[in-house]
Amino acid sequence: MTSWSLAFRNVWRNTRRSSATMIAIALSCAGLMLFGGYIYWAHLAAEIHTVVLSGHLQVFKSGFKAKGSGNPAAYALANYDEIKKLLLADPVLGPKIDLVTGQLMVNGIITSAEQQTSSTFAGVGAFPDEIERVIYWNPYGLTEARQIPANKHLFARKPELDAADPEGITIGEGLARLLEVSGDSRASLELTALTPAGGLPNMLSATVRQTSIRAMEEIDNHLVVMPITMANDLVFPGEPMHVTAVQLLLKHTEDLHTVEQRIDELAREHQLDIEHRSGWDLNPNHERSLNMLDMFFAFSFCIVGVVLVFTIYNTMMMSIVERTREIGAMRTMGVTRHGIVTMFLQESVVLGLFGGLAGVVTGLVAAWCINHSMILYTPPYFNVKAKLELMCLHSPMIIVGSFFSSFTVAMIGAYIPARHASRMEIAEALRH
């Protein structure tokens, strides 16, 4: 007979109460796991959406982020190929980079002569064979918005750009609505933009390949994706290739800081007039939303913790009151105060261990059920449905953290009653 077997037997002497306490621990643990799994998904989803919108990193001509959005052409880089080669050939950066591609931002007016409609647009000139790798970047295998049946009609059914279709452009779903053109109509549109030389506007005709979305309404109402050659012809007619941003996709997001530092070093070594911004700098709302979710999680964690502490406290106090005379008798046999504290903490460990394990199993089963029930919702700022995914299994920290959190909280809840039991006057306890 060991102190642990005594603790185990003491826990089960009141089966109903101990079961209720374990269920409380299990539900707390499962709740933390499920919420943790959702937060984890939200972080991954935000990372993916950030990269889809802006890549991991964009390199600009110095001053572009401060002033360039009003006149992107004035801050375009004419040495895209040189920068791309430099980045890919670098022994530090090369192995970490998945893709280097160029983008030429164009702001202007888009007109449908046929419908007699027009709107401002925010255009992106991209390399047709490379843009798909950016917009469908999904290294974590999350359910993509376009895979959800409720969203399928919103997304492009073929590549947004095609090198064999140099006049074909893809426009945002919202913009198409404003211009009253449909995605599969091959409607002819006129794009007008200012050129840097002399400020005279230039105009080009384009054909709508399809409509597409970037999932955020404010973007989709102005989005025009066009081949970079078309964008270059629009802004820099007759000139060599320009880009406003060199976009980088990394193999691993955690390399971002190293890559940024190395680009700074290269810029100094080669006297390049460039600056860079991470996708997270360019899309700060994602980070803010995540911070809010993290705060919700912390707040929920505190509430769960407090409730659990009081549950365990109550269970232990009831047990101690029932066993007061027994505690007195044990003290007469030579059990020290520390021994009494240890005994009740061991019982709490048993409760926490079994409750926590039950919580992990419950959490995993609940997560599986939720993940397979296709629960859809529209996240803030988005205009597409997202699938509720709880990624409890994707990070051991979620399971381990939830288990140990509920376990630790159970220990904290037991400590005060245990200490109270140890401080009882023996004579008083025996008279109970």
Binding site: R325, A329, R331, T332, M333, G334, T336, R337, I426, L430
Partner: protein
């Protein structure tokens, strides 16, 4: 510190014990002086509230006197800290209670084994000694039964075995027969006498039971917090 070779096993010197009761102080003991020799079988009688249990608590080191001193086996128990006092109780004292106070989740053998394990006796030896103690009390067949499955007499025999298994110098029994019928109570007292004879343990028993008092080698009478001549 008194010399244990010449001093009695228990020496109580002018012990007083006051309890607060609401706004007033109750004097449970009002200056008790007492010696108990080793290997004796002492019975203490007195009406309820006379201070019997309080005196037993002071001798057993589970309460401290308001004034005066209590020496057990030469040790002034009021000078010991909680851990030392716990160790002292574990090694030198045994207790038998009116309500048995067995640990309900342990079997009879485990209840007897428990104080041995507290004294760091290895598990196999503790189990063997517990079973031997049960056998000496005629409870071998009940070794694996829990207290709820035993009769009151059997429970008290287990409690006596638990008190004796560590070979203490002194066993303190507070009303050990109060919850037993007279025949069973007599058997328990006989068992205690037998154990005293066999193991040389000193017994200090408080009781209202005249049957127990009749078996006393030495009788103490308590009245109003004072020890009277028996």
């Amino acid at each position: 510190m008194p010399d244990t070779t010449t001093q009695p096993l228990v020496r109580v010197i002018a012990a007083k014990k006051d309890y607060p009761l609401g706004h007033r102080i109750v004097q449970a003991l009002r200056g008790v002086t007492l010696d108990i020799a080793s290997h004796s079988f002492v019975v203490m009688q007195g009406p309820s509230g006379s201070g019997k249990t309080t005196l037993l608590n002071l001798i057993g080191g589970i309460d401290q006197p308001t004034a005066g001193s209590v020496f057990v086996a030469g040790q002034d128990t009021s000078k010991l800290g909680d851990s030392e006092l716990s160790r002292f109780r574990a090694q030198r004292l045994g207790f038998v209670f009116q309500n048995f106070n067995l640990i309900p989740v342990l079997s009879a053998a485990e209840n007897i084994e428990y104080p041995l394990r507290l004294n760091k006796v290895p598990a196999p030896e503790a189990r063997a000694r517990a079973l031997a103690m049960l056998a000496s009390m005629g409870l071998s067949e009940e070794a694996h039964q829990r207290p709820a499955e035993l009769s009151g007499g059997q429970c008290q025999r287990v409690a006596v075995g638990r008190a004796l298994v560590t070979r203490p110098d002194l066993v303190i029994a507070d009303e050990p027969t109060a919850n037993l019928d007279s025949a069973t109570g007599a058997k328990i007292i006989e068992l205690m006498r037998e154990m005293r004879d066999r193991l040389g343990t000193t017994f200090l028993i408080s009781t209202h039971d005249p049957q127990v008092a009749a078996l006393a080698e030495r009788m103490l009478m308590m009245r109003d917090g004072l020890l009277c001549d028996a």
